[in-house]
Each structure stands twice: as C-alpha cells, then as structure tokens.
Subunit: 178 residues, 2 copies
DNA sequence: AAAAAAGTGTCCATTTTTTAGACACAATGC
DNA sequence: GCATTGTGTCTAAAAAATGGACACTTTTTT
C-alpha cells in the first residue's frame, strides 16, 4: 500500500544548488522538507522536530572526499535514533564506501547525479519498509529460529544463548509454531 | 577475542583458477574449504554439511555480468538459512549491485581482484560478528526501544504495534531499564 | 474556548508463562 | 564401553501478562 504523503524529510548537503534541486524534486512527495548545509546541528534538529527520513551527503570537508564525514554523522544519527532511516548520497561513488555505509546502518546509497524519479522511488521504498513494525512475538519467533539454526539443532545450547530455559524454549516453539 | 580456526567455508565460483587461488588463500584460516563451480547444488550441500560461511561469486551465465545470478542464489540461501553469513565477490564492481546485495542480506561485498589479507580479515570479521547471539531479552529491549522511538513516545500505539498490552510494556520497560 | 477524543499512569484479580529441579532415556565422544 | 552431554517430559512455586477499571492530562476538533 502506498501512502499519499511521506512526512518530513531532513536533507543535508553543503551545496546550496543541490539543496534547491532536491527540495524541488522532493516537494511532491514529502509534507515537509528541512534542508541543512551542515550536519553539525543534525542531532539538535532531530530532538526538536519529528523527522521521518534523513538524506545525508557524505562529504563536508572541502577537498576531502573519502566519505568519512558522512559515515561519522550517519553513525551519530543512528546511535541516537536507531529507527530513523538514513539514506546516503554522494558524488564519489565507491563500492567500498557504499558497503561501509550500509553496514553502518544506512537504508540506501544514492550516487550523484541522481535520477529524480528513481530517488523518489527509493525514498518511498525506504519509508514503506520502515513502516513494517514487527510484533514482539514475530521478532521472537524469528530470533528463536535463527538461534536454533545457528546451534544446528542443539536445543540446550540454543536456549542458553537465548537466555531462557530449555523448557521455555519448548513452550515458545509450541506456541509460536516454530 | 579471535578464534584459531573458523570452521567450514563454502566457496562458489565458476572459474577453477579462482577457486584454486581462494582455496590456497583461505587454507590457513578455515578448518574445511568446500569449493563448487556452480551454485546449482548449494541448497543441497547446505542441508548435508555444516557450513559456517558462504563466499559467492555473482556471475555464472557466460557473457552476462549483471550479477542477477548471484542475487538469486544469495536470496535462495538466505531464505533457507537466514543465520548463515554470505559474502559476495565479483569482478564487476558496481555500487548499485553492492547495495542490492547487502540489502538482500549479504554480509559483505568483495571486488576482484582481491587482496588476500583483506579478504581473510573481512571473512573473519563477518564470522566474529555472526557469533554474537543476542539474548531474547536484549532483542526485546532493542525492539521495544525502536517501537517507542518510532511512535514518538505514544505508549498506547507502541504497545499495540508490539502486540502486547500497555501494562506489559510498562513492566518490560521497568525490568529492562528502557 | 468549550467539548470530545485520545492517551497516561496505576490499580486489581485471574490466567498464563517461566522457572529450577528432577527423571529415564537417547546420542555422542574418547 | 564408559562417561559425558543432550533430550523430552513432569512437577510445584514464582513471575509475568491479561482485560478491565479508574481519575487525570493532553491533544484534537469544532
């Protein structure tokens, strides 16, 4: 199911022209667009405003384009708001950087120049995915299944690693039909 | 803490020379190395053997290098063994492909030609990370925190989405010190 | 600004789940 | 072949979850 409007997006890029272009490109999709040319105040903003998605450029130090800045701020954001999706965007496309970004918790990785339609589609996908909030039981089932798999069927070990008794593990497996 | 030996690795690549090179490169790190030149039988193998890590090439159709084959098999493996780490490796480095691979559940994305030391280090990292099995309570705490964050503090909504009563949510928050 | 709606924090008694410990009986390892 | 480790099931006691209630506060609507 697609939504009409996708809430508030925070866009951070040190290039004003790009901020303008993004604002225009995203205006049809988001109810509210906050743009920032520096990531310094991002944590303050996130504590003051209700933001649903962050679109974060990766390079803010002139002449440096390793993406370290972006990774730093990505991690800072995700540390304080683990559920807030962050999409990275950079002109210096690099497989290694993309891998590190995603492993650090980014929801997607966009390269400049971007295609407007594709960008909007990706952002929508991210927000649609973020909406699926699994129930505690579903989460539990999943985790239990993984634990048993990881222990190659050794129930005692699995229960130990899960921090519950073996009997409780049997109970849950019956109840959750694992 | 580092382990001495890292169990069994399954390596899948259609180039025999690469398999030989990888076998040599990984022999010091893994107790057992299974090599396959085709991914067709991978699910059968995984049901028969205890495998701790899969290193999967992304292109198996001659002349086609979109990585679709790799993504297909990655998804097949992860569908049946969600806890088994899969590392992708490809000669056709492409940011988009890396993103899709990681979003499909790959643990890392290596480009050919690879650096032996770096490859071994990355594979070790993946296995060390896979070893951290969170306890059920830790998992729960995490999920609860996220739910509350996502509901911007609305406890009733958070409890609903978690599939528990509001009182139980309060209980858990007290017990888990959320 | 008043009324309606939604959310909060805390209580209760009842039902359900988890726990530690025990048991006889497979597997597995050396 | 014996020792260790794991399995599945059973208790009784402790702990947690449930639906429902309550007076109160905040938010939304009109």
């Amino acid at each position: 199911m697609q939504k009409d409007k996708y809430g508030t997006i925070l866009v951070i890029d040190d290039n004003e022209a790009i901020l303008t272009a993004l604002r225009y490109c995203l205006s049809g999709t988001f109810q509210r667009i906050i743009t920032k040319s520096s990531p310094d105040s991002v944590l303050t903003i996130l504590n003051q405003e209700v933001v649903n998605l962050v679109l974060l450029d990766m390079n803010f130090s002139i002449g440096v384009n390793t993406g370290q800045d972006g990774l730093f701020w990505l991690r800072a954001i995700r540390k304080h708001h683990p559920e807030l999706p962050v999409v990275l965007i950079t002109a210096y496309a690099d497989v290694n950087l993309a891998v590190r970004g995603l492993k650090s918790g980014a929801s997607d990785f966009i390269t400049k120049p971007w295609d407007n339609d594709e960008l909007v589609r990706k952002l929508k996908d991210v927000l649609d995915a973020a909406d699926d909030m699994a129930t505690l039981d579903e989460m539990e089932t999943d985790h239990i299944r993984r634990a048993i798999d990881r222990c190659h069927g050794n129930m005692k070990l699995a229960a130990e690693q899960l921090g519950i008794t073996r009997q409780t593990l049997y109970n849950k497996m019956k109840k959750l039909e694992v």
